[in-house]
Symmetry: C2
Subunit: 218 residues, 2 copies
Amino acid sequence: MREPRRIPPATIARLPLYLRELEELGEAGQDVVSSRVLSELTQFSSEQIRKDLAYFGAFGRRGIGYSVGHLAAAIRRILGIAEEPELALVGAGRLGTALLRYLGRRHAGLSVGAVFDSDPGKSMGQVEGHRVLPASAIAEEVRQRKIRLAAITVPATAAQEVFAALVEGGVQAVLNFAPVKLKHPSVFVHNLDLATELQALAYYGQAKGGTGRERPDA
Amino acid sequence: MREPRRIPPATIARLPLYLRELEELGEAGQDVVSSRVLSELTQFSSEQIRKDLAYFGAFGRRGIGYSVGHLAAAIRRILGIAEEPELALVGAGRLGTALLRYLGRRHAGLSVGAVFDSDPGKSMGQVEGHRVLPASAIAEEVRQRKIRLAAITVPATAAQEVFAALVEGGVQAVLNFAPVKLKHPSVFVHNLDLATELQALAYYGQAKGGTGRERPDA
DNA sequence: GGCTGTGAACGGCTTCACAGCG
DNA sequence: CGCTGTGAAGCCGTTCACAGCC
């Protein structure tokens, strides 16, 4: 079975975590790894790991395990980070800068294609080594550079407008940190509000609330 | 049916989003809201909203809808943010500072109880109006102030150690941004690696990858 | 008539059990 | 014998359909 119409989103969300462990194993000199070992590292069941990978093909060798290097390369291809796609970042505030640092420090397979900010002061300068363009240039710049990925780290009031410009420029997938639910029929949006995450966390911090188990999805 | 043993995590994750819309409705002067209207605002189905709320009791009036104020208060109680619990933040870098700003700007129902950083320079100063304590003080400070919630925004190498100190201090729930999978049998952990999120996003930014639909879980 | 609350049906993800190779 | 790959079963959350109230 190769690449059915639709892969479970839960599977896609786990692939980067497998990749993270594979890269560590590779740096440690490991050539081969079994789903059992990956299971211990990631805390996902070994069957689940095998099933996730099987959606995309047969990468392992029976009786042996998976080649660390080959599997990592396969996951990068699947995720589309093998060719280092460019990311557009809108909002060069604290959170945006934090993201730029993350990407600069670790090699995630993503490059920063463009950084935007509506603040003229920031628009003139540089942030984390990237030139900052004015928000008014979003649509054109994104289109010209054929950027498909974007992250929005602007205040709530600006998010909708910025999103429209990104969509106009042809962006295909957006990670939105602003506390506004963005939606579009043909663009993938992942809304990730940090305040909301903390509020959900609070539930599990209550005496009676949490069972002590880890959250199953993350 | 009132408060069964275990509430679906997906339900808990949606409650803050309902709350966000309820607060906006309240500021707009709305007294009553139907699950239909909440559905349009949040993009979750009205049945799902009703079912989520029904886990905790019957808050609505048939034929009328839900009282905006009462429902908001109920959700705050359920999440445990009615009494404004304190949060411990470890790591006063870019991301940590961004989080502090988020919490300062919006009233999320959480207060910042303590901020820690291993950098002596930061430990002496203030960040976003909060005094920064040395990482060595984590366990004792958390225990003394009875802090149950924590966020970790430190580099990967420090995360495990910091986590151990928080657990020692008696923390009950942790939001971990470091690219390390933290786990503990009696403490709830939500691992949220931003680089990982971006890598998963890349999948949906591919030509063939995404169907254009929004991610169902967020 | 409108809207909530909820058992039943449905669907999708996970777990189980095992067949298939090395 | 070890480990992968996979149909089948189980489970959990969402959707459906409707009863119950206002």
